[in-house]
């Protein structure tokens, strides 16, 4: 651990975290892109600083996505989409500084909890990843979709329409089994499908700007936060149950390759709402609505590395870049890594710890100026936000077509808001659609078309039962609310 008293390693961690926060805060620059941009610089570095650098960018970027999600309703990363719900509402009420403080502290709690899980339970948790067969992945996607009733905010039928629309968008592109193009209308740009981040930026950010342009001024609050406000001890205690829900769900989703922070954040939000004493406050600026998803997606940051370290399976794009960082230095993640290069594994753990500390300290420094920035006069702010959106979207694939898609989703989001249709089920449909379809069909291929495979697999059966319970509970609550 001597490396972590080395000033150059500490500086690397702070630099990486700062780069990650900035990258994560820019819509279109995903954590994996922010990491990939720095990967070439690690060639000439020693293994430990190289891994610390990549891990720091990863942690910073996963956190950074929440900043624009809260302040301008633009999720910087997929996983930050759930944070827009109450975070942006708090910012609209003039409580942006409080929302940023809750996000920072909950992110820290989640990051440290996830790191603890990673350190003490990597090997046993790896068995969870191995237990996941295609039927179990299908059931996991169904479990994710079961939160739609809770996210529809009392408009279940409209929520189902939105979810169907999301699932339709998810089927655009090359068929996952036979490779046939579907719904591409001859466009090569659509062959790879539509990235969820494009849908989210359109539905949340562009739609919000289209609404705001028709309003005389920002909805004025009595007093706007102009400084970052960390939660008081009393508020922190109040947020603990929501953070605990986020930590639990984030641990489970993180160790499952491919599940990711987005599903974890939405599920954590929904469960925090379900178990809250005041569920009606969610969506109207509830601090728990920021704490739960932020804790969840920051736990995933660490726990998503469990399959990478223990099995050599990168469960996400970011983990794949980190894998690249290991390979550059002649190290192969997997069961042997702990025996062959334990110092690098501990280097990674130490890097994650340093990055979480850096995230807190850098957050304390940069969030107040960020708040100042978003309190500028509306005409200039709208223009700057749109400039950021169109630039960030182009940066993903260097595609003008993608900007057009985002504008189309912006118009769709505007129309859905006017029609009173909740957009979150749509987002969930887009995020889970591919996982749902590909694993459903793979399962049937493996079972020779026998649907019993979904109840014969114990993990799938358990997840489907949980999905049934959650849906039943939500429907029962909806029924009680309307009668």
């Amino acid at each position: 651990m001597g490396a972590f008293t080395d000033v150059s390693v500490i500086a690397t961690a702070f630099g990486g975290t700062l780069w990650g926060i900035l990258g994560g805060a820019l819509p279109g620059i995903s954590p994996s892109i922010a990491m990939a941009l720095l990967l070439p610089f690690t060639y000439g570095m020693e293994p430990i600083p190289a891994i610390v650098l990549l891990a720091s960018v990863y942690v910073g970027a996963e956190y950074g996505g929440s900043i624009p999600a809260i302040l301008i309703r633009t999720p910087g990363t997929n996983a930050a989409a759930a944070t827009t719900l109450d975070g942006y509402e708090m910012a609209r009420q003039g409580r942006g500084g409080e929302a940023l403080g809750i996000s920072l502290v909950s992110g820290l709690v989640g990051g440290l909890f996830g790191l603890g899980v990673l350190v003490v339970a990597t090997e046993p948790l790896a068995r969870v990843a191995l237990a996941f067969t295609p039927p179990a992945y299908f059931a996991l996607a169904v479990l994710g979709l079961s939160v739609i009733a809770g996210l529809a905010g009392g408009a279940l039928t409209k929520g189902l329409i939105a979810a169907s629309l999301g699932l339709m968008i998810a089927t655009v592109g090359t068929d996952p089994v036979s490779g046939v193009p579907r719904f591409t209308f001859g466009s090569p740009e659509l062959l790879a499908g539509i990235r969820p981040i494009l849908v989210m930026v359109g539905l949340f950010a562009v739609a919000e700007m289209l609404v705001q342009i028709g309003e005389p001024d920002w909805a004025k609050a009595e007093a706007r936060d102009t400084r970052l406000k960390l939660p008081s001890l009393a508020l922190f205690r109040r947020l603990l149950p929501a953070q605990a829900i986020g930590c639990g769900i984030g641990t489970f989703e993180g160790v499952t390759p491919g599940a990711g922070g987005t599903i974890a954040a939405f599920m954590a939000y929904n469960e925090a709402k379900r178990w809250s004493r005041d569920p009606d406050a969610f969506g109207k600026g509830a601090p728990e609505g920021v704490a739960a998803p932020e804790a969840a997606n920051n736990v995933v940051t660490a726990t998503a590395l469990v399959p990478l370290l223990s099995l050599g399976i990168p469960g996400s794009n970011s983990a794949a870049i980190l894998l690249g960082g290991f390979l550059v230095h002649g190290l192969t993640p997997g069961p042997m890594l702990f025996e062959r290069a334990p110092e690098v594994v501990w280097g990674l753990y130490g890097g994650l710890l340093l990055a979480n500390i850096a995230m807190l300290l850098l957050g304390l420094v940069i969030l107040t100026p960020t708040l100042w920035l978003v309190n500028r006069p509306k005409p200039y702010l709208v223009a700057a936000i749109l400039a950021l959106i169109v630039s960030g979207v182009f940066a993903i694939e260097q595609s003008v077509f993608d900007i057009g898609l985002v504008l189309g989703f912006g118009a769709l989001g505007y129309a859905l808001r006017w029609a009173g249709v909740p957009v979150l089920p749509l987002v969930l449909g887009v995020v889970l659609g591919f996982m749902l379809e590909s694993n459903y069909r793979r399962s049937l291929v493996l079972s020779g078309g026998d649907h019993a495979v979904f109840v014969e697999d114990p993990v799938a059966l358990g997840l489907l039962a949980a999905a049934l319970l959650l849906t039943g509970f939500s429907l029962w609550r909806e029924f009680r609310r309307t009668t």
Binding site: L160, I161, S164, V400, R441
Partner: protein, 152 residues
């Protein structure tokens, strides 16, 4: 438009989208590698789900219409902003990234209520220069340089 009419319109639109999606799914060619479900199987199931939800929404709105009047948003203003953004998309390959972005920022700020003048021009120039520096110089992202100026 009251809430009931709006919901009926939405329900009918959902039925129409579901119908079109089903037709498109049915027309997907089935390859020799296809499984029993086929490339159109899941899209058809999703279309059925949407059609069912649309039908329920129409029926419910007819039998038990919602009474509230939804707010009247400024559709014209939104359409104007969308037009400015589309102009950016069309102009970007022609005039290049920094100029197109500066013009977009200036036009949007003006449209949103900024006073015309040197301040606005300075803002537009600053946005074009700052974003070009961050995205092109620092991150190395190859934005279009503009065919009018000999770039790609």
């Amino acid at each position: 438009m009251n809430a009931a009419t709006r919901d009926i319109t939405l329900g009918i639109a959902a039925l129409a989208v579901a119908g079109v999606w089903w037709a498109l799914a049915a027309a997907i060619p089935v390859s020799l590698l296809a499984d029993a479900v086929g490339p159109g199987g899941v899209p058809k199931a999703v279309a059925m789900l949407m059609a069912a939800a649309g039908a329920v929404l129409v029926l419910r709105s007819v039998l038990r219409p919602a009474r509230e009047r939804p707010a009247r948003p400024a559709h014209g203003r939104a359409a104007g902003l969308l037009a400015l953004l589309l102009a950016y998309v069309l102009g970007l390959p022609l005039i290049g990234y920094p100029l197109a972005l500066g013009l977009l920022a200036g036009a949007v700020a003006l449209y949103a209520g900024a006073r015309p003048g040197l301040g606005l021009a300075g803002f537009a120039a600053a946005i074009g220069a700052l974003f070009w520096f961050v995205f092109v110089r620092v991150m190395g992202i190859p934005f279009p340089a503009g065919t009018l100026f000999g770039g790609l």
